[in-house]
């Protein structure tokens, strides 16, 4: 018992240091300032412009999560149950949007419609000039398309793994009496209900917190109001208050998830894996639809970036001019991923421990820190850590402050991945160790960790990618002289010629793709080796 609380205390302690304490500090200050000012909170929040923002934010989140889930279920079904050639290639392609920072993806997406590019040229022949397309994309449409372009691929992949938890004989049994469509509707979807609801809510929350993409298409959403109060008015307290609706909405969404997804252990059955061959006669059509999606929303925008006057010599020059930034990025991402995986593991162990009384608080911590607006986190960290004492100035003036932000912001990913896997482990693994007299730590290191190796690697990689692409908070707190590559792209994008920005974006994509692909190749080789 004592060990749980010790671990919990450590997690809480770090949470306090990374962000919670700075945030509390800031909230108190803001509330004081706010009370001293003559603005009335209710009047401010219920202003028409604010209500419009809430409306925009909610509609965008609903549209994006609804479309992403529906299309994701369709593609997920294809990836899981339909016999396809090149399935692996499809899956790999769907991973690309996940690893490219959203800001870069928006640039790619917009440039896809320029006259000089393939699609843009084609559309202009069809009478859809750049101007028409831009006016169509302006606001909600563009934001929704780009966000769907980002979320559909990952949703498809998650849905397909969700479905693969269904025993193949369950599907076989249904196939002898039912059409494939009905099997999907009555067996597969209801079976995966909880997972699907969860995906919907996560996309909803992710969209709600989005600033970069709606801003890119000039759609006003709540995070933009937070930014405006902050950047134009330098009004920290109102900026905090502006993020209040964001919080309340996220809290409601979180509560709904908790209520809708009660314990569903009955589904944790032994899974028999078998060949799936649903929708046999439509498989060509399905493969084609998946290919068209991948081509238009992944290959075209990103390929287009690569094609823009990028000579080898130019790229070499760009690399030599950016070596510091590249190293900084890799260094931070590596540290970030390492600590995130450790931290996530600690949280996951606690969350899945049956005897630990505050299990649900772990998820609450994660979600809270994830939806907390970047800018305010940055401000809170500065105000709290920039003090005239050696310890805080040591943290503040080194890159550690960025690590704090990463740990605070992204812990939900390793935590969820690892705790999902831990939940699936048979309890007998640990019990056998207990009988053998191994202590808790020994059991974790020698019995549990080897069994969740894959998820640890996945957590590390995913955290690495998220850290590598982070802009929102990093731009606010990075120490002087310690620029990362995404920040450089962001600051250079303002006034550089297009090919410089494209070149830098390509560099970042390569930087992300090279380790990602090499890990996949290594895994593939090891799997083959294990077969022989």
């Amino acid at each position: 018992m004592k060990r749980h609380f010790a671990l919990f205390a450590v997690i809480v302690f770090f949470f306090l240091l990374f962000g919670l304490l700075p945030i509390i500090f800031l909230v108190i200050r803001s509330v004081q300032e706010f009370l001293a000012s003559d603005t009335h909170l209710i009047v401010y929040l219920l202003k028409k412009s604010n209500l419009d923002l809430i409306k925009n934010s909610l509609s965008l989140s609903l549209i994006v999560s609804g479309i992403s889930l529906s299309v994701g279920v369709f593609f997920g079904t294809i990836l899981w149950g339909v016999q396809l050639r090149f399935k692996k290639l499809f899956k790999l392609s769907l991973l690309i949007p996940l690893i490219i920072p959203p800001y870069i993806y928006s640039i790619c997406f917009e440039r896809m419609f320029y006259k000089e590019s393939l699609l843009g040229g084609l559309l202009s022949i069809l009478g859809l000039g750049e101007q028409t397309i831009q006016s169509i994309l302006h606001g909600m449409t563009g934001s929704a398309i780009v966000l769907c372009g980002i979320f559909i691929p990952i949703t498809s992949l998650i849905v397909s793994t969700l479905f693969s938890r269904i025993s193949s004989s369950m599907i076989d049994a249904a196939r002898t009496c039912s059409s494939d469509f009905r099997i999907m509707l009555r067996i597969v979807l209801p079976f995966s209900k909880h997972g699907l609801i969860s995906i919907f809510f996560v996309i909803f929350l992710l969209t709600l917190a989005q600033l970069e993409i709606p801003n890119f298409f000039s759609l006003n959403v709540i995070p933009f109001e937070v930014l405006t109060q902050f950047a134009a008015f330098h009004n920290y307290s109102l900026s905090m208050m502006a993020s209040l609706p964001l919080f309340l909405l996220s809290l409601i969404i979180f509560m709904m998830e908790v209520i809708l997804i009660k314990k569903s252990d009955l589904l944790a059955n032994k899974v028999k894996l078998g060949k799936m061959d649903l929708f046999h006669s439509s498989r060509t059509l399905f493969a084609l639809s998946l290919f068209i999606f991948i081509f238009i929303l992944i290959y075209l925008p990103i390929g287009n970036l690569f094609s823009r006057n990028l000579s080898l010599t130019f790229m070499v020059q760009l690399i030599s001019e950016s070596t510091t930034e590249i190293w900084n990025s890799l260094y931070l991402a590596f540290l970030g991923a390492t600590f995130l995986t450790l931290f996530g593991l600690a949280m996951a162990l606690l969350k899945t421990d049956r005897r630990f009384p505050f299990k649900s608080s772990i998820d609450f911590f994660s979600i809270f820190s994830f939806i907390f607006p970047n800018i305010i986190l940055g401000l809170a960290l500065i105000l709290f850590w920039n003090q005239e004492n050696p310890l805080s100035s040591f943290f503040y003036t080194s890159s550690l402050i960025i690590l704090f932000a990463y740990l605070f912001h992204f812990n939900i990913f390793p935590q969820r991945i690892l705790s999902d896997h831990l939940k699936q482990l048979p309890r007998s693994i640990e019990e056998a160790g207990m009988l053998a007299g191994a202590g808790k730590i020994k059991r974790i290191i020698f019995l549990i960790l080897p069994n969740i190796k894959e998820s640890i690697i996945t957590s590390f990689l995913l955290s690495f990618l998220f850290c590598l692409g982070e802009i929102g908070t990093t731009i606010f707190i990075y120490p002087p002289g310690f620029q990362t590559l995404p920040i450089k792209i962001f600051t250079m994008a303002a006034n550089s010629p297009e090919h410089v920005v494209s070149g830098l974006a390509v560099l970042l994509i390569l930087l992300i793709l090279i380790p990602a692909v090499s890990v996949l190749v290594i895994q593939e080789m090891r799997r083959k080796y294990a077969h022989h």
Partner: protein, 333 residues
């Protein structure tokens, strides 16, 4: 709890980088691609390591300005190099900058520097109109921005979000030269005429260059970037015979309580020099030298040839804080 010890050890190991003594920390909102080469030169010539924090108008300058304000009680920066005077004035009013008169300051026109030495201007940009040559011929062009409320410009004009960056400066300046009533009236008419309010000046440049919008307000450096990118665009300095064109110098300030005070002064002296002004004039931003007797390369305007708007920058900065609420309302309605 052995693991915790290891984690702490690792943290200490990775972060125990040595802290150089001979450094200067500069926060700059001048675009990185122009400021970085200048700072690199300074490093080479003096051997003082420059630790820079870059920002850009495209990001609404949230980073640097707010950071300077947040760091007030324990300053980390030595020098603030701003892309326009507004931010320097804001910092002065918040008590974050200190007074320092650089060596060459006497050769900078009075208009572009603070009386009390909190900021000194150098290389300047100009607010101008950019237009698409394929959509507008020379004789269709307006002479004054006041013409843009005319129905013939309906839905044809773009401006960046006036809450941020140089656009906010420009609008505040208009309030000073035109008076509040007239300026408000002008803005409302502009909005009623289908004005496109875009994210940033760079966005105005891109949308005009690609032909989506015929004409727009932006900065001279944006225009020059489009020209060098072989876009089919032209530019005009409006109101040459009227209220004048807004000139926006870079400004540099010393931060109050800066940790590397001596180096900071060296860097400020370095920035207010013929060499730096020439360099910034030669780069893609084609900034206009302000020091008496410094002339940019061919194609770069001289400050004497521009009819500059005669306003008190500090008054404009104060005005801006007054009209921000109005501007926010103006965008939202």
């Amino acid at each position: 709890m052995k693991i915790m010890k290891w984690i702490l050890m690792a943290v200490l190991m990775v972060s125990s980088c040595s802290r150089d003594k001979n450094v200067v920390v500069v926060y700059t909102s001048e675009d990185q691609q122009f400021s970085q080469p200048v700072l690199k030169d300074f490093e080479k010539e003096t051997g003082i390591q420059v630790k820079a924090l870059y920002d850009t108008e495209e990001t609404k300058s949230t980073g640097i300005l707010n950071r300077l304000i947040a760091e007030k009680n324990n300053p980390q920066a030595d020098v603030f190099w701003s892309g326009d005077p507004m931010r320097s004035i804001l910092l002065k009013r918040k008590g974050i900058t200190a007074s320092y008169t650089p060596k060459n300051a006497q050769n900078i026109p009075k208009l572009f520097k603070d009386k009390e030495g909190h900021y000194t201007g150098f290389s300047a940009r100009v607010r101008a109109l950019i237009y698409n040559k394929n959509l507008l011929s020379k004789d269709q062009l307006p002479k004054s921005i006041l013409e843009l409320t005319d129905p013939k410009w309906k839905n044809k004009v773009a401006i960046a979000n006036p809450l941020f960056g140089t656009t906010s400066f420009h609008i505040a300046a208009l309030f000073i030269v035109m008076g509040d009533e007239k300026a408000k009236d002008y803005l409302l008419k502009l909005k009623a005429n289908g004005l496109h309010i875009l994210k940033s000046n760079g966005d105005v440049r891109r949308k005009v260059a690609s032909g989506q919008i015929p004409i727009g307000f932006t900065d001279s450096d944006d225009i020059n970037v489009a020209l060098l990118d072989h876009k089919s665009v032209g530019f005009i300095y409006p109101d040459e015979n009227g209220i004048g064109t807004l000139v926006m110098p870079n400004t540099v300030s010393l931060i109050k309580g800066s940790p590397n005070n001596q180096n900071a002064k060296l860097l400020i002296d370095y920035l207010i020099s013929k060499k730096v002004e020439l360099k910034l004039a030669q780069m893609e931003c084609a900034q206009i030298p302000l020091l008496a007797g410094v002339h940019g390369p061919k194609g770069v305007l001289s400050i004497q040839s521009i009819q500059s708007m005669k306003i008190d920058y500090e008054a404009a900065a104060i005005k801006l804080t007054e009209i921000l609420g109005f501007l926010k309302q103006w965008i939202e309605d």
